[in-house]
């Protein structure tokens, strides 16, 4: 055991001395390896950011995994009148904290240049977290907003532009025109999506229905009955779909049509959507790694010729053939591991660079994933494997050196 430890440590020391003494040669031969490791690690790391961007974008529109959607209507198309109570009971029974009604409607807003119908979504406070809504200015709805006399509204940036971008600390108001005109307070601004051209806003569902009551007659409904959303743990989502369907259907009776289903992105997605991209770039990086390894083998073989005498001298002082083989291979491994570490550090600097992060995420990521440890490990494993493979041929050549001839080489 003692011999194994000292042999191992000794071989690493020899390898490190060799790398240190021939650092220029080693550095030149390792550029390819470092670049390839950097590429592989960067691809995996940036893939994680891009994936997070896609996930968050999907979560903004369709909710987080697992989001359940509940809709209920009577068979004649009218809105069931007992739904608010049934909804509250279901939330309490299953202890669901993240749930929101969603009322899509159009609310006329008085701007300086005239009254304009504005797409309005009535929601409950948890909706912001459920859909990852981030605000440019102000804060998302809180429970305190439920008791405001002047309802709070969150407007998009187009709306804000039309108001003249007033400072929210001045509590700017806007006039909602309807059966009775209401003054609302702008408490937040969210960024407009790139394809949006019109003003839009969120209001609390209760406030919205207070100023424009829910129309139950299907012939008068413009946007249909409210729907209900729930964010629940993925592992119990299927049981909850069944349970909610049963409970709500039971409460409304056979004259109602109740539908509960899961519609978030994860319900339709199998596997990694970036797998093909990762594999393509990974294959290219693999080729670069192969070329780097070939360069390494080439230079190692050439310099080995110059080192035959040194190998002979080492053998004369007790280095066994196995030790020479291991030491020469370790030189390659130590060198490529160093190159791998450099490559991984470069990859971290690239992936965590704010400019690169913004470019890849396109402003769609709120929770940037940490640099993936598996990417760093993959890079280092690739470097070590390449080092071992590239060191194999020179090591075999070194072992075949005849000691007597080598000393006098």
């Amino acid at each position: 055991m003692k011999r194994v430890v000292s042999n191992l440590v000794g071989a690493v020391i020899e390898a490190w001395q060799e790398v240190r003494i021939h650092k220029t040669r080693v550095m030149l031969s390792l550029i390819g390896v470092a670049v390839a490791v950097c590429a592989i690690t960067t691809v995996v790391g940036l893939g994680g950011v891009a994936q997070q961007a896609t996930i968050e974008q999907s979560e903004r529109s369709g909710g987080r995994a697992a989001s359940l959607y509940l809709s209920a209507s009577m068979n004649d198309g009218s809105t069931p009148t007992g739904m608010p109570e049934i909804w509250r009971t279901a939330l309490e029974r299953y202890q669901i904290d993240y749930a929101s009604r969603v009322v899509n409607t159009s609310q006329t807003v008085q701007f300086a240049d005239g009254a304009v119908p504005v797409q309005t979504i009535g929601v409950d406070p948890p909706y912001g977290t459920m859909h990852r809504i981030t605000l440019e200015e102000g804060t998302w709805f809180t429970d305190g907003d439920q008791t405001r006399l002047a309802p709070a509204v969150l407007i998009n940036s187009i709306f804000w532009d039309r108001l003249g971008r007033p400072d929210l600390r001045t509590h700017p108001t806007t006039t909602l025109v309807g059966e009775r005109t209401t003054t609302a307070v702008v408490t937040g601004v969210y960024p407009s999506l790139s394809w949006e051209t019109e003003p839009a806003m969120y209001m609390l569902a209760d406030a919205l229905t207070a100023i424009s009551p829910v129309v139950t007659d299907p012939n008068l409904q413009q946007f249909g009955p409210p729907s209900y959303e729930l964010w629940v743990p993925v592992d119990v989502s299927e049981q909850l779909v069944t349970a909610l369907q049963r409970d709500v259907q039971g409460a409304l009776g056979s004259d109602a049509f109740v539908q509960v289903n899961r519609q978030d992105y994860a319900a339709y997605q199998n596997g990694d959507p970036y797998l093909s991209l990762k594999l393509t770039v990974g294959a290219i990086a693999g080729l670069v790694l192969l070329l780097g390894a070939l360069g390494l083998v080439n230079i190692a073989l050439v310099t080995l010729k110059q080192r035959i005498r040194e190998i002979g001298i080492r053998r004369s002082f007790g280095a066994t053939a196995g030790r020479v083989f291991f030491a020469v291979m370790m030189e390659s491994v130590v060198a490529t591991v160093v190159a791998g570490i450099v490559g991984v550090i470069a990859a971290v600097l690239i992936v965590k660079n704010p400019i690169v992060e913004n470019f890849i995420s396109q402003g769609q990521v709120a929770d940037f994933p940490p640099f993936p440890v598996e990417a760093a490990i993959l890079g280092l494993v690739c470097a070590t494997v390449v080092g071992a493979l590239a060191g194999l041929i020179p090591a075999l050549v070194a072992v075949r050196v005849k000691v007597i001839d080598a000393i006098r080489y």
Partner: protein, 231 residues
Amino acid sequence: MTLLHLEGVTRTVQLIDAPPLTILSGVDLEVNVGDRVSIVGRSGSGKTTLLNLLGLLDNPTSGTMLFEDRPVQSLSSGARDRLRGREVGFIFQQFNLLQGRTALENVMTPLLYAEGRQFWKRARIATEMLERVGLGDRLGSLPDRLSGGEQQRVAIARALVRGPRLILADEPTGALDLETGETVMDLIDQVATESGAALVTITHDPAIAARATRHLRLDHGVLQSTSTVPA
């Protein structure tokens, strides 16, 4: 105590288009602990081949060779390498220092193949050895910054750092001027005496050969004893 015992040792090499070439023939030799042996002979007489056999770098074609009563032909390659590293120290004519390594790193090299205290305390042991040969102030010097005499002293320190029982010196003063050669030989004698090691010197120089207590001559592969001086 007998360190090396050679009896009827021959060494032949196979040539491609010619009959086998006999380099050593019927060599009988016994080297005891503390012996001072010199071997002289013309170029091509087989001196270096004999030194390679004595240093376990090569195997005899026939005959018996015992190292500390163990037949070396039956040892595995690894066991022979380890025995060589532990018990044999080489001093070469061209010093054979490792370029790019400091004097200290050169002397530490054999200790990299040792175990236990010798391995883990190698820096301290090597430093002490260099101090013994008078190079305590040149630990960090590279070989190309040392004079010929200093390089050979580093080589001596490297050969002796593991405390071998057999020192094999192949023309140790061949690359040095007369005065430096004398100094180096004084040092080798002194260190070998202190450590109780046997010293086998191959040389062309009669003055160097005269320092030994047993004088041998190799002539066409045959070893002859010329004289023995009482110790």
